[in-house]
């Protein structure tokens, strides 16, 4: 049973790897979008799924990564911008993590949103002071290259989520989610574990942002730090369900394919249908797609 599931995932990864050979630009583009959301949502659950600290501001890491990339572009080699983006996002999480992760519940939700807004406005102000009015990126790598970068990031994110969940770190994080005070009393180093989870969940979104800046070949802070990014991550992770690697994959797959389908046939009302579906999901499958599937498999 387990082996069959494992083979299924390997098969999926191989199919994704072969996609640029099979499909045209459109399919590759769709693949990049799908992989982007998988990478982002997987990163998100390392913090929010496993500890219960729901981040509503993951766009900050995505935006920071994009910014680092466009600033480095043409000044440094591309790989430096790419790695720099991940490093900057991770370091930023480490720097703010300790005080921020003391705030709990809904306060944490809005605090993370506020952090993303603060950074956005700081960068808007900086760009305005520099007299920069949106940065164009010329000479971005070809689509297939971006696709493989994104595939790498998505795979890495899935592996991180999967490994963390099955490690001592994951056990500690689950203890924090169930009862933080009790975990602390039992000797779990809660502050350190939360900080590690935060940094882990920040680094990959930074690199995803860097790739997407090249993909759209344009950077503008209002777009790059758009709260929509944060919202979509949460929606996909929750719809996918659970705190384990398969959830976000299912959630991202579902929402990306759904919007693609509705787009084509019902461009006027697809957002309304999307809204209805989100409501339906919460009402009838609050455990998420992954949880639902597991329940079906074990009668």
């Amino acid at each position: 049973m387990i082996r069959r599931t494992a083979w299924m995932w390997v098969g999926l990864a191989l199919a994704m790897a072969a996609l640029p050979q099979l499909g045209g630009d459109y399919l590759i583009g769709l693949g990049i979008t799908l992989l982007m959301w998988i990478a982002l949502a997987e990163s998100w659950i390392v913090l929010s799924g496993m500890t219960g600290y729901v981040s509503f501001g993951h766009a900050v890491f995505y935006g920071l990564g994009a910014y680092v990339m466009v600033v480095c572009w043409n000044n440094l080699p591309g790989w430096a911008g790419f790695l720099g983006a991940g490093l900057a996002a991770g370091l930023f999480a480490l720097a703010i993590g300790y005080p921020v992760l003391r705030v709990r519940g809904p306060y944490f939700v809005i605090l993370t949103y506020g952090l993303a807004e603060l950074v956005k406005f700081l960068i808007i102000n900086t760009e305005a002071a520099l007299g920069k009015f949106g940065r164009l990126v010329f000479g971005a790598p070809p689509l297939a290259t971006l696709y493989y970068l994104m595939l790498g990031l998505a795979t890495l994110a899935v592996l991180i989520a999967w490994t963390v969940r099955r490690s001592r770190l994951g056990l500690g994080l689950a203890a924090i989610r169930e009862d933080e005070t009790a975990a602390e009393n039992a000797g779990v180093p809660v502050a350190r574990l939360k900080l590690i989870a935060f940094a882990l969940s920040a680094a990959i979104p930074g690199m995803v942002g860097a790739v997407m800046a090249l993909r759209s070949s344009y950077f503008e802070p209002l777009q790059a730090f758009s709260p929509t990014v944060s919202f979509n991550i949460v929606a996909m992770a929750v719809i996918g369900g659970g705190d384990d690697a398969p959830g976000p994959i299912l959630g991202a797959l579902f929402l990306v394919l759904l919007s693609e389908l509705l787009w084509a046939h019902l461009p006027e009302v697809y957002m309304i249908i999307l809204g209805l579906l989100v409501i339906g999901f919460v009402l009838f499958a609050p455990e998420g797609l992954h949880g639902r599937l597991q329940r079906l498999r074990r009668p």
Binding site: Y107, V109, L277, P286
Partner: protein, 294 residues
């Protein structure tokens, strides 16, 4: 800067802050009594603005007719949404387990439905009520009649809500619910009815706020989100479920926005607002005035 002592700035701070407080009231009422995070709150403001636009520009009504109408319509909508969706949601134990996260998603769904439904009906093009009323001046303050009226209504409504919560039976019952739902149920407070009323009153006040906004600003189906954000900042600053705290926090935000900009420069506005918000959160993780007890 010498201009910091101007009445004009104080008036602007009251107008802006009062509106923030008014918008935040409904959000806090619904969170306090039901633990629901209503991210569609700004869309209720938007609906109120469209109701007023419809009554004033399309039907030719006066503001004093449009404002209560918007409140009434949105109040009814609050009732309907509670009865049609949230009563069902609240009856599911699996959903209640993580009610804050789940309610956030439910309202997220409601919010995109409302935005796009209004966009289908009215089109996404921005619209506006006429803004050609007379100007008035008192002391060193200069403003328009409708702005003065809006400020007066804002404070009148905030004040009467505060008094009603303090003195009336329903108000005390609501405060009991905010403090401890289970205990409130045990002493015989009719939770379901009060929850429905929380929705109705919360939405009515937000609708009124939207109608006031429509007197000064352009309206569009996507105008709601900034109000959702402002309302959340206010209720988090003031402490979740703490209705008096959120009034104070709304005014504080107004003061930061006007005097903060006057003391520094306009490009610092949002950095100041978010910076102060984050600083408060880090120093007082339960808000300035403490949250409600769980």
């Amino acid at each position: 800067m010498s201009s910091l002592l101007s009445g004009q700035l104080l008036f602007a701070a009251l107008a802006t802050g009062g509106l923030y407080a008014l918008v935040a009231f409904g959000l806090n009422l619904i969170y306090g009594t039901l633990r629901l995070l209503n991210v569609a709150h700004g869309e209720i403001v938007m609906l109120g603005a469209y109701a007023a636009y419809w009554a004033m520009t399309m039907m030719g009504g006066a503001p004093l007719f449009a404002l209560p109408l918007a409140a009434l319509l949105l109040g009814a909508f609050g009732f309907a949404l509670y009865g049609g969706l949230f009563r069902l949601a609240l009856s599911r134990p699996a959903l209640m387990k993580r009610i804050e996260g789940n309610s956030l998603l439910l309202f997220f769904g409601v919010s995109i439905i409302l935005q796009n439904a209004v966009s289908l009906v009215f089109s996404a093009s921005p619209r506006a009520n006429k803004a050609d009323d007379a100007l008035i001046a008192f002391a060193d303050i200069q403003t328009s009649q409708s702005r003065l009226m809006a400020v007066a209504i804002t404070f009148l409504v905030c004040l009467s809500l505060a008094i009603a919560l303090k003195t009336s039976w329903a108000g005390r019952a609501v405060r009991a619910m905010i403090q401890n739902r289970d205990a409130a149920a045990i002493v015989g407070i009719p939770l379901d009815r009060l929850q429905a009323w929380s929705f109705a009153i919360g939405f009515a006040v937000a609708g009124l706020a939207g109608a006031l906004v429509s007197l000064f600003e352009q309206i569009s189906p996507f105008m709601g989100f900034p109000y959702t954000v402002a309302a959340f900042v206010v209720i988090i600053l003031g402490g979740l479920g703490n209705l008096a705290g959120s009034l104070a926090a709304g005014l504080l935000l107004g003061v930061v926005e006007t005097f903060g900009v006057a003391a520094t420069s306009a490009n610092w506005r949002s950095i100041l607002v978010w910076g102060i918000f984050i600083l408060v959160m880090l120093l007082k993780p339960q808000g300035l005035f403490g949250g409600s007890r769980r």
